[in-house]
């Protein structure tokens, strides 16, 4: 078997267990998007063009709350700023790639594929190792598009009484499970939540996500600083 294909399959295989939570996430996105009033084509377009769960759900949430486009776009940017964190780690492994491959890989780069491929990159050093990230990314892409489509179809049959919009805070809550055990994270979570809740009606342009995020990040900076001084 061709080496590129072998590394690609390894990426598919490594990322697959992490795809299980993506299934309900994609379904919920498809159902909610239709519920909010986007057309099936627009909903599919979001999954194809944006291809990022947290970004797409924030878009829905703010759009349904009547936020302006500028606020929605900057909130999506704020959510994505976590990707910058990976930059320092992954760029050194991909620095020799052609620009076109960097563009392709960037489109497919999602948290799960990053996590798995970063482990692989640390252990392997052949020149085709980027096919691992490509394989993981494509796997997630196929699952995300399929579940979005199923969500669109299912959405027509799911009664509003089920209150499925509650799945939005639940999915974000689920993404924080690893942070609930760390004291500084818990404080940051509470500050962000309180600022957003009390600022919901008062922060102009529905920019409460950004105001809460910045306040909470400043809190994190102060707390980690204090923590260091005490050590």
């Amino acid at each position: 078997m061709n080496n590129k294909f072998r590394v690609f399959l390894k990426g598919v295989f490594d990322v697959s267990p992490l795809m299980i939570p993506v299934v309900p996430f994609g379904l919920i996105f498809g159902v909610l998007s239709i519920d909010i009033g986007f057309s099936p084509i627009e909903t599919m377009g979001m999954s194809l063009i944006i291809f990022g769960g947290a970004s797409q759900i924030i878009l829905l949430q703010l759009f349904s709350g009547g936020a302006s486009s500028l606020v929605i776009i900057s909130s999506v940017g704020a959510v994505n700023s976590r990707h910058l964190l990976y930059g320092a780690v992954v760029s050194e492994h991909l620095s020799d790639l052609k620009l076109i491959w960097k563009i392709v890989i960037s489109y497919f780069l999602i948290d799960q594929a990053f996590a798995r491929s970063n482990e692989y990159f640390k252990k392997n050093n052949d020149k085709n190792k980027y096919f691992h990230l490509f394989g993981g990314g494509i796997t997630c892409w196929v699952i995300w598009q399929t579940t979005t489509f199923l969500g669109i179809v299912l959405g027509a049959f799911i009664p509003e009484k089920l209150g499925l919009s509650f799945a939005v805070p639940l999915t974000f809550l689920a993404l924080l499970v690893n942070d609930f055990r760390k004291l500084i994270n818990v404080i940051v979570i509470i500050i962000s939540g309180l600022v957003a809740t009390f600022g919901f009606n008062y922060v102009p342009y529905k920019a409460y996500v950004i105001v809460a995020g910045v306040t909470a990040l400043l809190t994190a900076a102060i707390l980690t600083n204090l923590n260091k001084k005490n050590e």
Binding site: F38, E42, P169, L173
Partner: protein
């Protein structure tokens, strides 16, 4: 702005944050301090979506009494802390929410 333009801009900004990490960022650009603070981004942003969706009603007013979402979110959080599992957290939250609105 039309829906399509909004979707394209959101896609563009998502792509650019990913692309910048591959193509532009060099290891030296981030010291440990900045990396440490960026690791708090999920904890700083996600609650801004979670809390209003749980504690406020559709018109943005506080809804603290007769609100099954609060209890369901607490149950989901506890299950999340114990199981460290994303699906278990979502399912326990939805199941307890439905239990509270349909059965209790």
């Amino acid at each position: 702005m039309s829906n399509w333009l909004l979707i394209i801009y959101c896609g563009l900004i998502t792509f650019l944050t990913r692309f910048s990490m591959i193509a532009l960022l060099k290891k030296e650009m981030f010291n440990d301090r900045i990396r440490e603070i960026l690791s708090f981004v999920p904890s700083a942003i996600f609650p801004a979506i979670i809390f209003p969706a749980v504690f406020l009603d559709n018109s943005g007013d506080f809804q603290l009494e007769n609100n099954p979402k609060i209890m369901a979110a607490i149950i989901a959080m506890l299950i999340g802390i114990i199981s460290q599992n994303i699906i278990a957290t979502i399912i326990s939250g939805l199941a307890s929410y439905w239990f509270l609105i349909f059965v209790v």
